[in-house]
Symmetry: C3
Subunit: 138 residues, 3 copies
Amino acid sequence: MKQSVHSLEIATRGQGLYEFTSTIREWTSRQQMQTALLTIFCRHTSASLLIQENADPTVRADLKAYFDRIAPEDGPYEHDSEGPDDMPAHLKTALTQVQLSIPLVNSKLALGTWQGVYLFEHRVRPHRREIVLHLVGE
Amino acid sequence: MKQSVHSLEIATRGQGLYEFTSTIREWTSRQQMQTALLTIFCRHTSASLLIQENADPTVRADLKAYFDRIAPEDGPYEHDSEGPDDMPAHLKTALTQVQLSIPLVNSKLALGTWQGVYLFEHRVRPHRREIVLHLVGE
Amino acid sequence: MKQSVHSLEIATRGQGLYEFTSTIREWTSRQQMQTALLTIFCRHTSASLLIQENADPTVRADLKAYFDRIAPEDGPYEHDSEGPDDMPAHLKTALTQVQLSIPLVNSKLALGTWQGVYLFEHRVRPHRREIVLHLVGE
């Protein structure tokens, strides 16, 4: 049994879903393990991780619009010192995840056919988001 | 240290919570580990996983009704090519989880007294849902 | 490769966010691993875990108020035998997480600068909440 760790950055250009499934797959594949557990960790409180459908792009548009509706910028928030999109960003992060673990079976990530891994950026301005990957297995 | 992996299917008959705690417990027990980490992964984007109260069944009825209210079928969605229950299913999946990890301590899953593990089916029609189990420990 | 497990209790005094990042850091540090995966598991269905901003306290006040709004005590619930705060507590738990995993890299948890780990208590009365920690690595 062994472990591998890796850090990567995703440059975002405003709110929305940024797929990085292929980046994860390539790095995982280079570690040459057969059976393992991959953990993806997002080091932020205003961006999160989501596994969602990677086929029809309207799903992502609807996801973004939905989270904008349930955590609107004009909510009754106390915290507003970092801009009107900041508190909604914290709420959207709380409602989704900052960590995902995916088993590796027969050298392949156990993602379903329609599952893609996304960074969900909740801030309006561009950011560089740090993601840590951890793999344990053999 | 060693690993075990397993694939199982859950046949659903419409929306709702399907408990499979005993299936997980039995498989985990057969791997004869004392200390380990069990990861449960759901390979879908319109069904999810939930750890919830396994005592009073009205909790599950209320959970289902609540998610129907916050992600209704008549929302302003662009994505509707797969039926009116499909986009709400993606939203409910995003609001819950597709992955859960549970420590195994003294050969027992660390679930609390009232915690059951459920597949949360969000589609109306029957489906066969694939779940991958991964156990690492000794 | 080795594993460590630990159980800890958090005494809560009503609804809100209770940070326990330093407790986790200290225990993890004592295990003297360099690279590992830490899993935090909450053994309850009416309290949950959240990684959120540990700087401005108004973020936590807004988080609490937000979850009170989206899962109010006066909702149309069937389950009310355990008090008006119980079903909202189950809903808030379902919307957040009972498990978090954080990579350990170069002997440090990969938490971002502003990320703190919180127990999110959803019940009004004081409770003792059990948290299980599992660490695998070397």
